[in-house]
Amino acid sequence: MYNYLEYGGSDQPNVPEHDQEKYEQFMARIEAGEKIEPDDWMPEDYRQGLIKLISMHGISEIMGALPEKEWTPKAPTMKRKLGIMAKVQDEMGHGQLLLRVAEDLMKPYGKNRENIMEDLLSGDLKFHNVFHMPTKTWADAGMVGWLVDGAAIISQTNMLDASYGPYQRALQRICQEEVFHAQHGEAIIMALAEGTEYQREILQESLNRWWPALLMFFGPSSADTTGTSKQDTMIKYRIRKSSNEELRQAFLDKYLPRVFSLGLTVPDETVHYDEEQEKWVYEQPDWNEFKQIIKNKGPRSKERLRLREVAYENNRWVREALSPEAIGQ
């Protein structure tokens, strides 16, 4: 999923002169639709951009499991308990898959997964804005599956042809599973929408709360909004195809009609489709708040990170017991 505004920096590739030829060959390859493999030559900003993108994507899958996990033991039926457990397991699996891809890219720097986890806990590595938000009712478990995964499908399918082979292949598998996630979420939402007054109430309340975070999901339209944006670099390097705003429009196109047909509303009276401009017009979310959220100053940032930290510290003795030195002793 996952946008790029944290990365900053200029758009000019930082290529030493003697590598200019390699750089041109590299660009020719990706422009011809070829895939780059881990041992191939690649420009430094390509590698670093990918490391940031993929480790953020991977860690967001893992942090993204936490909001739903809050409702997993509480899911209201056996079937829902099984469904949400399977879904959370998939997300952890996505995290695993992606962190392996990131680890490969990090090898030249002598870094590994341990460093990724430490960067997360120190705040150097960001995770996606939606996963800083609280969950309050069972409806949130449905909302995450339906609209957060729905948004993820839109941004991930946009990268299905990414120029970096290992990432592109991981995304193929992830996107297949995401389809089931969206169905799982939609089934929870349908049951609530067709349910009792209480169920419809928690559903609408949940959507109201998630709406700004869903708009923020795709990141700001341009660098003007938050100062930096790397979306153009990622498009140039053929990682993604569309801009943040194009993705957001695709999301609104797909989901707003469904939202309305369920009798739900969004907390934005101005939202409408402009026939002339052929796009959805909506009230901008508070992008300053967005900046705060991804700096780990969101409503649940501290608690979610704390959960990871406790798990990490608490299992230190297990990691030590599994280390090669311990097993060989």
Binding site: W71, P73, T77, M78, Q89, Q96, W138, V310, I327
Partner: protein, 271 residues
Amino acid sequence: MTKVTSAQEAMNDDVYLKALTDLLYQLADDDFLISFRGSEWLGLAPHIEEDVAFSSITQNTMGHALMYYRLLEDLSEGEADALAHERDPSSRRNAVYFEKKNGEGEYLTEPYYDWALAVVRNFLYESFKKVKLEALTKSSYTPLANIAGKVLMEQPYHLSHWKIWFKQLNNSTDEAKTKLQSRLEEAWQQFGDVLELGEYATELEHFDIISGEDDLKERFIQEVESTVKDIRDISFGKAFGSGREGDHTPDLDQALNTLAEVYRSDEKAVW
């Protein structure tokens, strides 16, 4: 012993029905509580690969609980979800050790869960479950024998997963060994009712619904012996009574309040 091939037939004999029903609650509640505790671990396992594997075992286990609740549904005990979510603590038949919390803290805040407890409990649980399932494949109640046969197919994977963990940690650092050993000692103090069959133990054996307690215990010891050498010297205590007869701890209340929170929030709702 003649076979009982359907719920209808089982319901013809009152004593048979009572004994069978009680055993099915034991089976269902054991699997349900173990898988509930597993679901609390989600996202907190020592590494991501383990999280994925543990979760898949937990889902299988909860699936098994559901199969047993459905057998109870067939015996007119009520709807599976109601049986899982509505029954009060005193009617639960899981062994007390399986309701025990995963460690200090709660899954939502400061979960200081203990991986040594997870490894010891799940290893013992899967060992015991294997023995019980093998006995159940010969059950006079054929719907149960059929399910036991199916569940048994997943058992080698579950058991070996936890056995490997146990052996690895037990052959590693002193800290790991100490942690495992102290969790083992704790287990033995509470394990007595795991190996019991409850109020209808005699009838269950008499009707060949499952083999007797002594036989199950001996087979359990044989199963675990290769991993836990001194198991023959152990006496199994019942520090918190017998869950098979409705004794339970506050840990079960915490489990039920959590797992039924949404279910109870609107009694008319279909979820």
